[in-house]
Amino acid sequence: MKSYQIPFDRFLSIRAEVLKTWPTGEGLTLEDGLAYQRTLPPAKNFARAMATASREGRILLQPRAGVALIPDHIKLLQYLETEGEADLLPTTIDAYTRQNRYQEAANGIQKSLEARASLLNGFPAVNHGVAGCRQVVESVRSPIQVRHGTPDARLLAEITLAAGFTSFEGGGISYNIPYAKKVPLAKSIEDWKYVDRLVGWYEEQGIPINREPFGPLTGTLVPPFISHAVAIIEGVLALRQGVRSLTLGYGQGGNLIQDVAAMVTLKELAHEYFAREGFTDYELTTVFHQWMGGFPEDEAKAFAVICWGSTVAVFARADKIIAKSPHEAMGIPTKEANAQGLRASRQVINMLRDQKFAGGADFERETDLIRREVRCLLDKVYELGHGDLEAGTIAAFAAGVLDVPFAPAACNHGKILPMRDHEGYIRVFNRGQLPLSAEILDFHRSRLEERAKAEKREVCFQMVTDDIYAVSKGRLVGRPR
C-alpha cells in the first residue's frame, strides 16, 4: 500500500513556518501538547466518547457555540453542559480567525471588551493561544471539538490540539468550497493534509483525536450523493495521514426517507471506499446536522424544524446530532436559546430511541439510488485522477464533476441546480457536468416533472428559489402561492 503520509521531517519544516504566522504560535512544541493531552481524563476525549456511544447505540447531542472572550465562552459552555444537557461541547471559531485574519480578530476582541458583549461570531482561539484555550478545557467536564470553516487551519489545529481539544472539524474541500472565495482547492487540500498529519501524530502517540469532515457543505438543497462523495474523499485523505477516529456528516434534507437512506448509505459507502483504499483500522461514526438552510424566524416554528431534525436523526440511527436553536434565523443564539434547542432535541431522542424505522420500498429505492449516484461521481473522480483520489478531486472540481450548489468558491463549478420533487426529495434539476448516468438523470427529471404537473407550471428556476425559501416560510416544498 502506497503511503501518502507527509514525511515527518517535511511536516516539521512546514510546522516551523506555520507557528510563525501569529505570536501565539511561537515556541509551541509538540511535546508540550502531547504531555497536556496525556493529563486529560478519558471522559474528556471526544474520540472515545463517540466510539463508546456508538457501541452502546446512544445518540450524542452537541450544540454550536463560541463567543469572543474567554470568561464568557466558559460560562456559555458550562451552561450548555448543565442546562442544555449537551453530551459534547463545541468551540465555534469566529470568521476572522477562519480567514487567518488574526489582526481583525484582535480588533474584535478589543471591541467586545469595550461593548461588554461579543462582537465576534465565534471564539478566536488563535488569539487566545494555548493557555487561554486550556482554561476553557479545564472549566468543563465534556470533550470539546473545534468547529470552524477554515481553509488553512494549520495554526488553529496546532494551538487547539495542544490545548486539549480532542476533535477537529473540517476538511480541504468542505472548509473551502462553502467557506472561501479565492482559495485554490489544491492549496486547501494540502493545508488540511497537514492538519490530518498532526492529528495522526497524536494518534501515533496514543492520543485519539476525532476528525469530522463538514458534511452539510452550503446547507442548501445539497443532494446526498454530492455531500457523500465529498465526505468519503475527505475521509480517505484523513485516513492517509493517520487519522483513526472519523465522523462523517450529513445535513438534513427534509424528506424522512431520503435522509435515513442518506445516513445509512453514508456509512456503508464510506466503509466500502475506505476498504478499497486499503484501510481497515479506523473507527467510523456519523453525525446528522439538523436543517442547515434558512430557518423560520418564528421561534415556535424553529422548534418544529429542530424537532423534525432530531426525529429523522433517531430513525437514521445517527451517532451524533448537531442541534440548532430557536434563534437560528435571527442571530447567534443566547446560551438560553441554544440550550432550548438542545433540550427539545433531547426530548425527541428519548421519546423515539426505542422505536423502529419501518423502511419499505421507497426506502430501498432511495438507498439504491444514492449508492449508484455516489459511484457515478467517485468512479469519474478516480478516472480523472488516473486512480489517485486527491488528484482526481482537484480535476473533478475544475471539470464540474464534483459541484456544490450555491457555493461561493471560485474553484467550484457552480453550475448544478438542485430542486425538490413532489414529495420533498432533493433531486437534480440542472446537472451541470455531474457524471450521473442517463438512467439516473431520467429518474430525477421524471420526479421533477411530476411535481411541476401537480403545481401546474413548468420545471423552472423559480422553483429552485421557492425551495430555498420554503422551510423558512413554513413548508418543505416551495409550492406556488
Binding site: A95, Q99, S118, Y179, G293, H327, P408, T465, I468
Partner: protein
C-alpha cells in the same frame, strides 16, 4: 420603460461567505430591470467603492449575514464621500449584528453609520425594489 437601466452594486462585506442570499438578490434585481454588478461574497469596502465608481452605480447594496456587520460596515459612507460619491445610496441588509436583536436597535446603529436604509433578513424584496426606485427618484429630483 426605455430609460437606460440603473446600475447598482451588490456584495457581501467583510469575510462573510454566505452566498445563497447574494445569488438570490442578484437574480431578483436583474429581473427587476436593474443593471447589477455582483461582487459576490467577501467584499472589502475598497472593492465596493471601486466597482461603484467604475460602473457609475447609483446605489450600493451591502449584505452582511455572519454577525460582523457592525465592525465591517463602519466607514463606508465616509469613504464614499472621500471618493466624491456624495449622494450614492447605501442600503444594508441581512443578519447585521451578533445575536437576535430588536430591529429598531439594529436600524438605528446602521443609520448612524450613514446607511440610507437598513433591512432585516425577513425583508420583502418587492418592497425593497420599490423603496430603491422611490429613493433614486427622490435623489434625482433633488439634483
Amino acid at each position: 420603460m426605455n430609460t437606460p437601466p440603473i446600475n447598482i452594486v451588490l456584495g457581501v462585506i467583510g469575510f462573510d461567505c454566505h452566498s445563497v442570499g447574494n445569488k438570490i438578490l442578484e437574480a431578483f434585481f436583474t429581473e427587476q430591470g436593474f443593471k447589477v454588478t455582483n461582487l459576490g461574497v467577501m467584499v472589502s469596502q475598497e472593492e465596493f467603492l471601486q466597482a461603484a465608481i467604475e460602473t457609475g452605480a447609483k446605489a450600493i447594496l451591502v449584505s452582511s449575514l455572519y454577525g460582523h456587520g457592525e465592525i465591517d460596515c463602519v466607514g463606508l459612507r465616509e469613504k464614499c464621500r472621500e471618493q466624491g460619491l456624495d449622494d450614492i445610496l447605501l442600503y444594508v441588509g441581512g443578519n447585521l449584528v451578533v445575536g437576535k436583536t430588536p430591529f429598531e436597535q439594529v436600524e438605528a446603529k446602521f443609520k448612524a453609520m450613514g446607511y440610507d436604509r437598513v433591512f432585516g433578513p425577513d425583508c420583502d424584496l418587492a418592497t425593497v425594489a420599490r423603496l430603491l426606485r422611490e429613493d433614486l427618484a427622490a435623489r434625482q429630483r433633488a439634483d
